[in-house]
Symmetry: D3
Subunit: 147 residues, 6 copies
């Protein structure tokens, strides 16, 4: 209870190890390992398990959003990496770089991806920095039908 | 199909009006109005309805996360406003300011809230700008039990 | 010279119209229109022309980076949109949404893209917010050969 | 003078230890320890002391802003943590997590807090990503009286 | 009280006009006009006056920080603009661009400034995106003397 | 191929050491060392060399943008540090702090610089957080001549 000057643990809360997980948490852990085809539970998920509803809703949503649809799995992981590099999230950059490499992107492909990320972080600052008024507007059908 | 220099519509896709919604989308619209006690569907939700799964997963998650728990509704809305002000999201700032006012925060309370947001956006830049090593570490029980 | 309370012009500097452009600027304008297959020069480029070296270096770099390579043109535009949505850059979001639509992405595809962007902006905040230590590390061949 | 490839020190400037502090700096250090009820001076403040006016103005302002008013101390610390998680500031996240725990927030409370932070970092990207026009506007009394 | 779909007012709270200001607020307004040599009170300050302590502490701090020291006034305004362009803050970009122009920066100078801002927003994304370990470390005298 | 729980290497790709560089990469390395007057190739550049076009375009652009013009070298490096501190980019903050120190900025000057960065990260959040309408607009000559 209270602050200390101790060594930094691997997160600001205690992670829930597999051996200490409740049945529901273990079920989610098993689904994570099966879905991602890995043999350990990453720190990210063991940390969210410190508040089980957060683990459940985050995993459920991630699994749904990352399922291939109009965009394939690799494109989705590349977008995840682009977002993470823009935000500078260390954990996420490592994790999504591992994922895109696993899905076949080589160093030249990663270089192209980060070149695009770098370029537009730069041009975003120009468009904002000059307060340029939008004039290239996507065509929108304003009839308003659903689907 | 293609770009134009037309007037900006209220979003980059067509919003789905209530009168044009499918039964499932209308059901969600009704839940939004009932839960938020408002008599119209905000642009945010009418825009997400351009891709119904996005509407459904976002509303389901928001409803679950914003339900009062250890933190009450007003505290959660204040945190939402703090995040939105930090990110500079126009739509979100208007919407969450309306919500905290509705929940009883007056101008002085809003001033205190934004003073805290302003202060720590400033000190974040100092801690990062000097690359200060963390030494005030929360105490973590690393025994790793779940709950 | 000095501040005023006038109406906001379309940028904080005067844009260079085609009719007023120097030969070198006009050459770049022509290349922009030909490369992007549009019949007008967008505000972004007319604004950068207020400092011609900035126009030239930005256009040269954008043209090189956006050329299809291991990643195709649509993937690159989707990444540009992901970056711009994460940064909240109004001009850029409009422009890149127009581009991905022109390249065939429909509303469902855009919904999937923004669902991924939204999800990972959220999980980035969790990984950072809990200060989770990276453990999913991409495999790196540290032998250090070039190419 | 000049760059090197040495080990990283705990900040980019030399911290001012208590034993080496001028009387005015020591006075502020003592106030920090008394106000925060801790028995050491955190790295953050020892670093700002490398430019004493920065130490003084930052501490003075933080002390004023964080004093309980319409919002209590714990709410203010939670907002500080929400801002720091959104910005991904390592030092600040550790420090404010320690503070909210000290003020009684348990792991479930922290989980709720970060779930809100995560959710709205995600929805901010949607509202910006679709460029949705604000329609939920807080009611403002434009008569313009001061208190 | 409550949300509406009305026209957006110029801020989410009522601004305090000069004619309606309390003596203390008017005193600060007069100091702002005199210090900045302008004949109106900008919206920013009239908005902060909705919570007078916020007006007072923000103005006091800004006046102290912006006073010329080792860095001159124009350099400080350029840094303010660099920060504002990086954050994409519309109000701030307009205001600081007006200030640097008033202090003599012409369009070419502004172009150079924003070229630097653009470049490093881009390289920041590369350094983070590749998770490159710092090796260019500023030399720090760790003897720890305070000035 | 695939993920592991190994120790973190100094980047997510293999850096290209000088001894393993192709002639073109070595040429750029030599230019970097000569231009920056250092006797080693920083990790940043050895990492970009994993995709040689990225190394070449980034170095070429950086060299052009950082050449003294209306703004001198130290001012440009200070702006680079302001951007990096705002983004919280660890590598970049270390590197640009080393650079400004090398160019003669002492701890008091660095303190002034970061005080400005901190202040405006704070006021940006206020201007956005209150959604204040721009009224201090730079004077723009809309006649539209190019230079």
């Amino acid at each position: 209870m209270g602050t200390s000057q101790a060594q930094r643990p691997p997160a600001t809360v205690a992670m829930v190890e597999e051996s200490a997980a409740t049945p529901r948490v273990r079920e989610i852990y098993d689904d994570i390992k099966a879905t991602k085809q890995i043999d350990f539970v990453p720190n990210f998920w063991k940390t969210l398990a410190s508040h089980p509803p957060l683990l459940e809703e985050t995993w459920t949503r991630l699994k749904a959003v990352m399922a291939p649809g109009r965009l394939d799995a690799r494109t989705k992981e590349m977008i995840a990496l682009a977002v993470s590099a823009t935000n500078g999230c260390n954990y996420c950059i490592h994790s999504h770089t591992a994922a895109v490499k696993k899905l076949g992107l080589d160093d030249a492909g990663l270089g192209e991806l980060l070149a695009v990320v770098s370029l537009f972080n730069g041009t975003n600052a120009l468009a904002d920095g000059y307060q340029i008024e939008p004039d290239v507007i996507p065509q929108v059908d304003i009839s308003g039908s659903s689907d």
